[in-house]
Amino acid sequence: MEELFAPGHRGCAGCGAAIAARLILKGAGKDIIAVSPTGCLEVISSPYPQSSWGVPWIHSLFENAAAVASGVEAALRALGREDEAKVLAIAGDGGTIDIGFGVLSGMLERGHDVTYICYDNEAYMNTGIQRSGSTPYGASTTTSPAGKISFGEDRPKKNAPAIAAAHGIPYVATASIAYPKDVIKKVKKAVEIEGPKYLQIHAPCCTGWGFDSSRTIEIGRLAVETALFPIYEMQNGKITSVKKIKRKPVEEYLKVQRRFRHLFEKEGGEEEIKKIQEIADGNAEQFGLDL
């Protein structure tokens, strides 16, 4: 399988976003046009005059990747070049789930033949670990810090895949870089389906989450095994596949990350961990994750 995302990029050692980009391109192949918004991936992959992109790639702004991708797709059709390339957007959770959410909704609603992939590292990492709508409950970030009266982020992760699915699009899926073959398989499948597709790929960030750079895959696996990041596919609004797990308690995932450390050190932390366990239990029940 061809390597289309070149090494030498400026990502941290153990960068989950870079792993995600590499896997996505393996799944999508070289006959694509990729669009990325401003964010970690854009910064690490395109330091002029160098580039990691072995495919045609454009970065415009922070919130408009879905609209730029819409324009690329419309142009290919208008120019009679629609067989030349599949259109992909590869964007972080800030550019997707916060500032670009209305734009994404527009793209999904209009029915563009675009595969929109959010690599989800659960905060604004490029600017220094500020919380996003995708930051999970209890995580300490630089704008939702744990403090004397705070346990960090006080709202659960926005359920972006469900909102994407509510647009009536043909394919929605989640995946994790901890399961590379699954990522490649889902991207390959998505680009072959006509219409708008939404994928959310969990991509742990060692710098932002606070773990050793050798443990990116292990942490990603724990997120899935604790049911905090459920892996599933939805086709035409119905769940068609779920990654079943032998479930682990959420502590195993939380205790190995600096962003959750306060939960184990502060008085009242136990209560918060219980709430996080309830979120995991809810996911397990909703998607039938337990083996």
Binding site: Y48, W57, I58, L61, E73, L79
Partner: protein, 390 residues
């Protein structure tokens, strides 16, 4: 010759340019342009991808993606929509994408006001867009065809916006000569991008550029703006040869040759000024006009040449840089510094306030008073303020 609404005259010109992708979001008073284009698409008269987006920010972003893929693109907006597009305008110019947009002119909120002034376009001055301003519907229509020639020229490769006064031009019916399709096809060849997004040549567009090279990119855009001046003039002449209509190059003049007082303005107010000049000339007053057709790149040399022998120049601004003065006035003074006539600045017509011939006559009288006294009493003043409202 047909009697038609200004917006429809623009839509007809857009159609004749055979754009591949159009994307727009409706906003008063731009709506009649995009409604007419929608009708053309619905009736099969215009074969293009028309992308109905959820905001002006996305309209321009769709144009960015489509243009970077090698498509000829068009959009139109006004006022708040133009303000919402602001960051994408910088981006389109920086990416050197020859997008063409009709910038219907309208005031900005607050207070909200849907009527004409030019604050919206003026506020996009530094985005890197070539900015033209039309005097009437015919010019707003013809400028579309000219704009693609300018934007897509490989020595330029910059986006072009065409200012068109809201309601005054967009909603008024005037006799308009439409350009025949075959002549437009001869005048405007297919867009041939130098670089575009394709797997056949996988290029990286929009990379991050650090302090060692960012300035050089800005310099190159600035240089392209400079080269655009000649292109704009040439295209205007070629258009005259092909279609028989000419509106000037970067500027146009009217009764300017022996004028003691020159009025400098842009947009639809030009027609009123010409009428006022005819009457003033009949009274023996040596008054003339400089019409700014191209606001960016700024036609410094042309204005200096036109104004050098005048005794006073009155600059009309349908905008204000709040806390200073009208934007055109500042630019004109910078051109004339130490070289030319006395310069007076007038803020007028904001939010759709009428500009009448008597307004122009009063301005000319003030300029003549300055000539007599040899000095400008009040550099920049608001015209026709209602003291009772203040």
């Amino acid at each position: 010759m047909k009697i038609m609404e200004g917006s429809h005259a623009v839509a007809e010109a857009v159609k004749a340019c055979r754009p591949h992708v159009i994307s727009a979001y409706p906003i008063t008073p731009q709506t009649h342009i995009v409604e007419e284009i929608s009708r053309m698409v619905a009736d099969g008269e215009l074969a293009c991808e028309y992308i109905r987006v959820e905001s002006e920010h996305s309209a321009m972003s769709v144009c960015v993606g489509a243009s970077a893929t090698g498509a000829r693109t068009y959009t139109a907006t006004t006022s708040q929509g133009m303000a919402l597009m602001h960051e994408v305008l910088f981006n389109a110019a920086g990416l050197r994408l020859p997008i063409v947009m009709t910038a219907v002119n309208r005031a900005l909120s607050a207070p909200i006001n849907i009527w004409d002034d030019q604050q919206d376009a003026i506020s996009q001055r530094d985005t890197g867009w070539i900015q033209l301003h039309a005097e009437d519907s015919q010019e707003a229509s013809d400028m579309i065809i000219q704009a693609y020639r300018i934007a897509e020229d490989h020595d330029v490769l910059l986006p072009v916006m065409i200012g068109m006064d809201g309601f005054i031009l967009t909603h008024v019916y005037e006799p308009v000569e439409l350009c025949p399709q075959e002549k437009v096809d001869e005048f405007l060849p297919l867009y041939e991008p130098t670089q575009y997004l394709t797997p056949k040549n996988p290029l990286t567009f929009g990379p991050i550029v650090d302090p060692s090279m960012y300035m050089e990119f800005r310099y190159m855009i600035h240089e392209a703006m400079g080269r655009a001046k000649k292109k704009i003039m040439n295209v205007a002449s070629e258009f005259r040869d092909k279609f028989g209509r000419y509106y000037g190059g970067l500027i146009d003049t009217y009764e300017a040759e022996d004028a003691e007082v020159l009025i400098l303005a842009m947009g639809s107010v030009i027609g009123t000024i010409k009428d006022a000049i005819d009457e003033l000339r009949a009274d023996g007053k040596k008054v003339g006009l400089v019409k700014v057709r191209c606001y960016r790149p700024f036609p410094a040399e042309a204005i200096l040449e036109a104004a050098k022998d005048a005794k006073a120049i009155a600059v009309l601004d349908k905008n204000i840089s709040l806390g200073h003065e009208g934007a055109l006035y500042t630019d004109v003074k910078s051109v004339l510094y130490n070289k030319g006539p006395l310069a007076l600045g007038f803020i007028l017509g904001l939010g759709g306030r009428d500009i009448t011939k008597s307004t122009i006559e009063n301005i000319v009288a003030k300029a003549q008073k300055a000539i007599e006294s040899g000095r400008v009493e009040e550099e920049s003043e608001f015209v026709d303020l209602d003291q009772e409202v203040l």
